[in-house]
C-alpha cells in the first residue's frame, strides 16, 4: 500500500497526507526521523543540562570518574599484577583503554534506561523513539570528548608522540559509537518489556571491565585464545585505540579488529531491527 507524504501546495501551507494503519511502512519512519532530527539534539541538550544539576563539582565528574578508575587499574594491574605495558607508561595504557570502555559502559547504561525513564512522554506524544535512545549515546560522547582532551594532556606530560596511525582514530571512535548505539537500542527496547535488564546491564558493565582489555594489554592473552577473545568487540576497539594512540608499543591483532567491525555492524543493524519491531507497541507495554 502506498504510504507517504504526498506534498501538494495549497493556500501557501504544505499539505501532507499521512496514512496510519497496522504495519506502517518503513519509509514514513525514516522520513520522520529526519523531520525530528532537531528533537534528537534537544534531548541530548536536555540530558547534558540536567546531568550535573545539583552536583557540587558539576561537569568535573566526567573527569573524576575515569581518573580514579585509572588510578585503581594502574595500581592493580601495573603495580601489583606487574603486567607488561609494551614500553608505554602504564597509566597512559590504561587511560587509552578506558576511554572507549567508559564511553561504551555509560552509553549502554544510560540509553538502556532512556525509554523507561521517558515513559510519560512515550505514552503521550508521538516522535520516532529512536531519537531518545540515540541522544543518550550522544550525551555520553560528550563525556568521552572531555576525557579525550585530558588524554591529550597526559600524552604531552609523558612526552608520548602518537604514531601516524592516529589518523585512523576517527574510525575507532565511529566503531565504539556504533557499538554503544547498537547495544543501547537493544537494551532500551528489551527494557521496555523486561525490566530484568535493569539488573542485567550493571552486571554486564561490571563483568565487561574485566573481560575487556581495559587494565591490561590484550597481548597477555595466550595466542591460541586470541580469536575467541576477539569475539568481544570491545577487544578490537580498545586494541585499535591503543594502536592509534601509542603505536608500536602496543601490538595490533588485525583479525580482532575485523571481527569487531563485523560484530558491531551486526549488533547495530539487529538492534535497530528489533527496536523498530517492538517500537509500535512501546506505548502499550511501557
Amino acid at each position: 500500500m502506498a504510504t507517504g507524504a504526498a506534498a501538494n501546495r495549497s493556500s501557501g501551507l504544505e499539505m501532507s497526507v499521512l496514512i496510519i494503519e497496522a504495519g506502517r511502512t518503513e519509509g514514513q519512519y525514516w522520513r520522520d526521523l529526519w523531520r525530528y532530527r532537531e528533537l534528537f539534539f534537544f534531548f541530548a541538550w536536555r540530558d547534558m543540562l540536567v546531568r550535573y544539576k545539583q552536583t557540587v563539582v558539576g561537569i568535573s565528574w566526567s573527569l573524576i570518574r575515569p581518573l580514579l578508575t585509572m588510578a585503581v587499574l594502574t595500581f592493580v594491574f601495573g603495580k601489583l599484577g606487574k603486567m607488561p605495558s609494551g614500553g608505554a607508561p602504564y597509566p597512559l595504557l590504561v587511560f587509552c583503554g578506558m576511554l572507549p570502555w567508559l564511553f561504551f559502559s555509560t552509553a549502554i547504561m544510560e540509553s538502556g534506561n532512556s525509554l523507561v525513564s521517558n515513559s510519560n512522554m512515550i505514552s503521550k506524544v508521538y516522535f520516532p523513539r529512536l531519537t531518545i535512545t540515540a541522544s543518550t549515546v550522544m550525551t555520553s560522547l560528550v563525556d568521552f570528548l572531555i576525557s579525550s582532551v585530558f588524554l591529550a594532556g597526559m600524552m604531552i606530560w609523558y612526552r608520548v608522540m602518537p604514531p601516524p596511525g592516529v589518523v585512523l582514530l576517527p574510525f575507532f571512535v565511529l566503531l565504539v559509537f556504533a557499538a554503544s548505539l547498537g547495544a543501547g537500542v537493544w537494551i532500551a527496547a528489551l527494557m521496555v518489556k523486561y525490566r530484568d535488564f535493569r539488573f542485567i546491564v550493571p552486571f554486564i558493565v561490571q563483568f565487561g571491565l574485566y573481560i575487556s582489555p581495559v587494565g591490561f594489554q590484550s597481548s597477555v592473552v595466550p595466542e591460541r585464545y586470541r580469536l575467541i577473545y576477539a569475539l568481544n568487540p570491545m577487544v578490537g576497539i580498545i586494541d585499535g585505540f591503543r594502536w592509534c594512540l601509542l603505536g608500536a608499543s602496543s601490538s595490533i591483532y588485525a583479525p580482532g579488529i575485523a571481527i569487531a567491525a563485523i560484530g558491531v555492524l551486526i549488533l547495530l543493524l539487529s538492534g535497530i531491527w528489533y527496536f523498530r519491531r517492538t517500537e509500535r507497541t512501546f506505548a502499550d507495554v511501557i
Binding site: 501532507s16 494503519e21 525530528y36 534537544f42 512522554m121 503521550k124 530484568d196 509500535r280 502499550d284
Partner: protein, 454 residues
Amino acid sequence: MLMSSRMSSSSPDNAIVIEGLGKRYEIGRNRASNDGLRHAIEEAIRAPLAWAKRRRDEKRRSTEFWALRGVSLNIKEGEVVGIVGRNGAGKSTLLKVLSRITEPTEGRIRINGRIASLLEVGTGFHQELTGRENIFLNGAILGMTRAEIIRKFDEIVAFSEVEEFLDTPVKHYSSGMYVRLAFAVAAHLDPEILIVDEVLAVGDTGFQKKCLGKMGSFAQSGRTVLFVSHNVDAVRSLCQRAVWVKDGRIQKDGEVGEVIDSYQSSFSVDHALSCTSPNCRLTITKVTLRDESERECSVFAPGDNLTVEVSYTAEERIQRPIIALGVQGVNGACFTSNMLLDGHRPEYIEGEGRILCTFRAIPLLPQDYSIKLRVQAANSAEVIIPYQDVAFFSVAGDLAEYGYRGEFLRFARHSTPVVVPYVWRLPDGTTAAVSLSRSAEIAECIGPRNGGLT
C-alpha cells in the same frame, strides 16, 4: 489495493478519514511485564529457570480486549468535533491511534494536513530546567522546529504570564504557573488539524476561559479540531458535531446537541422502576444527578457535591419507608446513605414527590461509578424496590491539581476509589496533607507543585 483506490476517490475536503479502525490489547501479557520493581527482582532471580515456563503461562493468561472495533469516521476540513464517552470507552485509545502513539491492530486512517495532538499539557517538561529551557524542549517534542519556537517565543511567554520566572526551574513553579506555561507552548503549535484531550480540565477558571477562547479562535480560523472532554458544556459551546464512543464503538454521531443529550440521558436508567410487590404500588419515575448549581450532571470533579434526586409516584400511602442509596465503583461499594442506619425516615410518602440526597465533597478518584437504590417497607422486611443501579456518573479531573504527583499516578484508575483526607508526617519533620477536597485550607497546604511538604 482495492482499499487504496477507494481512499483516493474520497473527497479532498476530508481532513480525517477513519475506516474500520480497531485496536486490540492483550491484557494478561501487559500486566505480567509491568508490575514494578518487586516483580522485576523476582523475575531476575527466577528468569533463567522460569523463562520458558513463564512465556507459556503468559500466553495462556493473556486475554484479548478490543479497546476499539470497527470505528469509521469522516471528519471534514474545518469541522470542530467533540468526542464524548465514559472513562474507558475508547476515546483515549482513539486519540492515541490518531496521534500515532500506538499503532492500530486493524483498519486505516488517512489524515490530510499537518496534525498536532495535545494529549497532556506539559509533556516532557523537565523539573530541573528553567521555564525558558522547557519552552524549547516542549516545543520540540510537540513537533515545532527551533526556528519556529524562536519566532513564537515572545508570544508564548506573553500568553503564559510567567515572564518574571522564565529563568527559574519549573520545579519551583506553582501548579497554576506550570500549567499556564505548558498550555502556552501547546497553544502556539500551528497545525491544520488539532487533537486535544481534556486539556481544559486543568488550571483555574480564568485560565480555562482563556484556553477555551484560544481553542475557539483556532476553530474559527477554519482549522479542524478534534476535542475530547468530560466537560459537556465545553463540547456544546465549541463543537458543531459530536461523536459518542461507547465500548470501543461509535454509539452516535451527529449534531452536537442531539448527541450530548442522548449521551447524558444514558447516565440515568430511563425505564421507570416499579414495585414488584402487589400490596404497595411505588414507581421511581426518574433519578437525576445534579451538581452544586442544581444542574443535571453526569461528570463530577473529585471533591464536588453530588446530589441524587429521586422522583417517585406512590399510588397509595407508604408509611415510614426506608431508602438507601449507595455509590458503587467498579471495584466495589464506596459509601452509602442508608435510612436504616441514620434513621431519618419520612413519615410517609404519597403521590408524586422527590427525595434528594447530597453527598458532600465526594472523595472519589477519577473512575466510573453507579448509584444504587433500595426502598424497603416500614417493617424493613419487605423490599419494595430491590437494590439496583439507577444512575451512572463519572469522576474526572487532573489529580495533579489536588497535589498528587506520584510516579504511578496514571494507574489511579485501578486504585481503591475513596480517598479519605490524610496527612503524612515524615521522619524529617515535614508534613504533607492529601485530600480530594477543594477546600481552601487543604489547597493551601498542598499548594505549589513542590511545596507539598511544608
